[in-house]
């Protein structure tokens, strides 16, 4: 499974694609099956919104507590906030946040790999 993520241009907030909008909660994001062409279509759409978001990319997910979480630790930090202070999205709490906090998995996010290769 995948979701599409980006940073909002105006304030840098981490956002996720949900039905043509950009939402702040990972738990609200649209889920794409791994071979769903709608994933790439959404990414292309995001890249066509240069005054809304910066660098949208797809990330891989893993199951956690019946919900979903990013496979990569970096993306979990983006979805939660930093681990040294109670700041950012994690302060909301709730099941989706708990699932993120307890997720396991070590493989890299495909989206992140693509970004590195592009450089």
């Amino acid at each position: 499974m995948k979701v599409l993520t980006a940073n909002r241009l105006i304030d840098g907030e981490v956002v996720f694609w949900k039905q043509g909008q950009w939402v702040e909660r990972f738990g609200d994001a649209d889920l794409f099956a791994d071979d769903d062409p709608k994933a790439e279509a959404a990414e292309a759409h995001g890249k066509n919104q240069p005054t809304v978001v910066v660098e949208p990319y797809l990330i891989d997910l893993v199951e956690s507590e019946g919900l979903w979480a990013p496979v990569s630790y970096r993306e979990r930090i983006r979805a939660l906030g930093p681990s040294n202070l109670p700041h950012g999205k994690q302060t909301e709490g709730g099941a989706a946040i708990e699932a993120l906090l307890h997720a396991h998995g070590g493989a890299r996010s495909k989206g992140r790999v693509d970004l590195i290769k592009r450089k």
Binding site: L9, D11, G12, T51, V54, R74, I77, H87, A107, K119
Partner: protein, 551 residues
């Protein structure tokens, strides 16, 4: 402190107006991100994991209370009530909105502050000895030169689009508190036998992927010729630095590729053509120098009865004096280190309240003078010894009196994967885990001087290459692993750390450091620091101890 005149203030106002226009054009889609990114970097704005990060310049680490209070206010108003002091003595805010950035620049300009050229492929903040003007050891005040270089490098017409970033440090004492030899240019003030003032010029140091200690390309450059010589160095770099590969683009690669002698001769040839036209007039140097004479010091006895009495009465205060109070050039005064390294806190972070506490102390007891060190602490450079007990009490109340300067829990750590888009692994929690193991101040003092430096990625913002123990976060199959190095130093005895062994997982790092310390305590002879013991024994006993445990 240097006072901004109308020209300096106009520069800040014009720069803010320029940036405001650029932000508006970006938001309107008239600039794309590729065109805008280098512009926002040159105004200190990074897009990080959670938000924009703003890196505010603290030129040569120098602040007055009004400025520090403004930073506290900005942290409270536009961020989450804290800031992070960096290894280049700047201040970072981690939760900034692009839309607020121009307003923040205006607020900074009100107190003669800015974020100009704190990022981007240009000349960055010039650093200098944080004890400048307070230490008896200095040949000349390095801040004079750092300020002159700051102005010269600001919106430089020819050198603002370099192959890569460019960092300059100025040191003026036998003890180097700037890591000058790991800079693109390190300038070491010295006197010739006839008393003439000059610089030893070192070029091509750097950390990052390939650490280099800068070779000396000129033993003595008369200070009056500084700017023509800098122009020669920058011109050779601008022309011949690599632009095909971002990882090979620093001047250190050019110096290594040409060799020190060939590089030096290219600089000298260009310098000869430039001549003296590019040098700064003596009147301008004298004008800048005039700004740095401190207020008159009182005539005081070398020993303060008040301080001695407090030391005798309060062991905690005695410990603070032992570790955090440094000798001042004037009898009866001391240099007070303000620790941003409380056990369990984030190294280098200060809350807005803590910033205000330090501002108050500088105003009341410190000649309005505050410094930032490249090891992420603050300094009150001019405090009467008689006042140190009161200063300590106030610092302690604000959580700024941890008596661990240069000890193992005085850890340098970059923000790492918790904040930074470049990072592979976390650095802050690794620092906290290590500090927790050495929370006992007796144990920390027993270990003595030990600089632990942690970077979350190869960009080495945590200066791990020059840590006595260096820790580098790497990404192994998506998990956080850490490569340890030993024996690095960023001081005048600069050296690059040597790898200890295979990378360790996150939950093994603090134990490994514990083991390294135990090994040192077992092996050390007569007053050796950790660094000295390692330099004598080599890596073998340490590697054996750590990896035997890890099996």
């Amino acid at each position: 402190m240097y006072q901004y005149d109308t020209i300096d203030k106009d520069m800040l106002a014009d720069r803010t107006a320029e940036f405001r226009g650029q932000v508006a054009r970006r938001l309107a889609g008239e600039l794309n991100e590729d065109q805008f990114k280098p512009l926002r970097l040159r105004n200190g704005l990074y897009l990080q994991l959670h938000a924009y990060m703003l890196r505010i310049a603290v030129p040569y680490g120098s602040l007055n209370p009004t400025q520090l209070r403004k930073l506290a206010w900005i942290g409270r108003t536009y961020d989450k009530g804290y800031g992070h002091f960096t290894t280049r003595t700047n201040l970072q805010f981690h939760w900034i909105k692009l839309s607020d950035a121009p307003d923040i620049m205006d607020h900074l300009a009100e107190v003669d502050m800015h974020a100009i050229q704190t990022s981007g492929n240009c000349i960055r903040n010039v650093s200098a000895d944080p004890y400048a003007g307070a230490t008896a050891e200095e040949i000349d005040d390095p801040r004079v030169w750092a300020e002159a270089i700051r102005q010269w490098s600001t919106v430089h017409p020819e050198f603002s689009w370099l192959p890569r970033k460019f960092k300059i440090a100025v040191t003026a004492a036998p003890k180097d508190r700037t890591a000058a030899k790991t800079h693109d240019i390190g300038l070491n003030l010295k006197r010739a036998r006839d008393g003439a003032l000059g610089f030893e010029v070192m070029v091509g140091g750097g950390l990052g992927r390939m650490p280099y200690i800068a070779p000396t390309i000129r033993q003595f450059l008369p200070v009056t010729r500084l700017f023509s010589y800098l122009e020669a160095i920058l011109r050779v770099y601008n022309r011949h630095g690599r632009r095909d590969n971002i990882h090979k683009a620093r001047i250190k690669v050019l110096v290594a590729a040409l060799g020190r002698d060939e590089f030096a001769s290219q600089v000298e040839a260009e310098w000869e053509k430039i001549g003296t036209a590019a040098d700064l007039p003596d009147t301008e140097i004298a004008r800048i120098r005039g700004a740095f004479t401190p207020k008159a010091f009182e005539t005081l006895p070398a020993v303060s009865e008040a301080l001695e009495a407090a030391r005798a009465a309060t062991p905690a205060f005695a410990r603070f004096v032992r570790n955090n109070l440094k000798p001042h050039k004037v009898a009866g005064y001391g240099i007070v280190e303000v620790a941003l390294k409380a056990i369990g806190e984030t190294p280098g972070d200060a809350t807005s309240e803590q910033m205000e506490a330090v501002a108050d102390l500088a105003e009341r007891y410190g000649q309005n003078d505050i410094r930032v060190t490249h090891e992420q602490n603050l300094v009150l450079p001019h405090v009467k010894l008689d006042d140190v007990p009161a200063v300590w009490a106030a610092l302690a109340e604000a959580g700024l009196a941890t008596p661990n300067m240069n000890l193992i829990s005085d850890i340098i750590a970059c923000p790492g994967l918790d904040y930074c888009a470049l990072a592979n692994a976390r650095a802050i929690s690794v620092a906290q885990n290590i500090a927790a193991k050495f929370a006992d101040p007796d144990r920390a003092e027993k270990v003595g001087e030990l600089k632990v430096k942690i970077s979350g990625c190869i960009n080495a913002c945590g200066h791990h290459h020059v840590g006595h123990i260096g820790i580098l976060g790497v990404d192994k199959k998506g998990e956080e692993f850490y490569q340890l190095t030993l024996g690095g130093s960023g001081a005048e005895d600069a050296s690059v750390g040597q790898a200890l062994g295979p990378a360790l997982p996150y939950d093994k790092v603090a134990d490994a450091v514990d083991t390294l310390v135990e090994t040192y305590l077992r092996e050390r002879q007569d007053g050796e620091r950790f660094l000295d013991t390692f330099r004598r024994t080599g890596v073998a006993p340490f590697k054996e101890a750590v990896y035997a445990d890890a099996n």
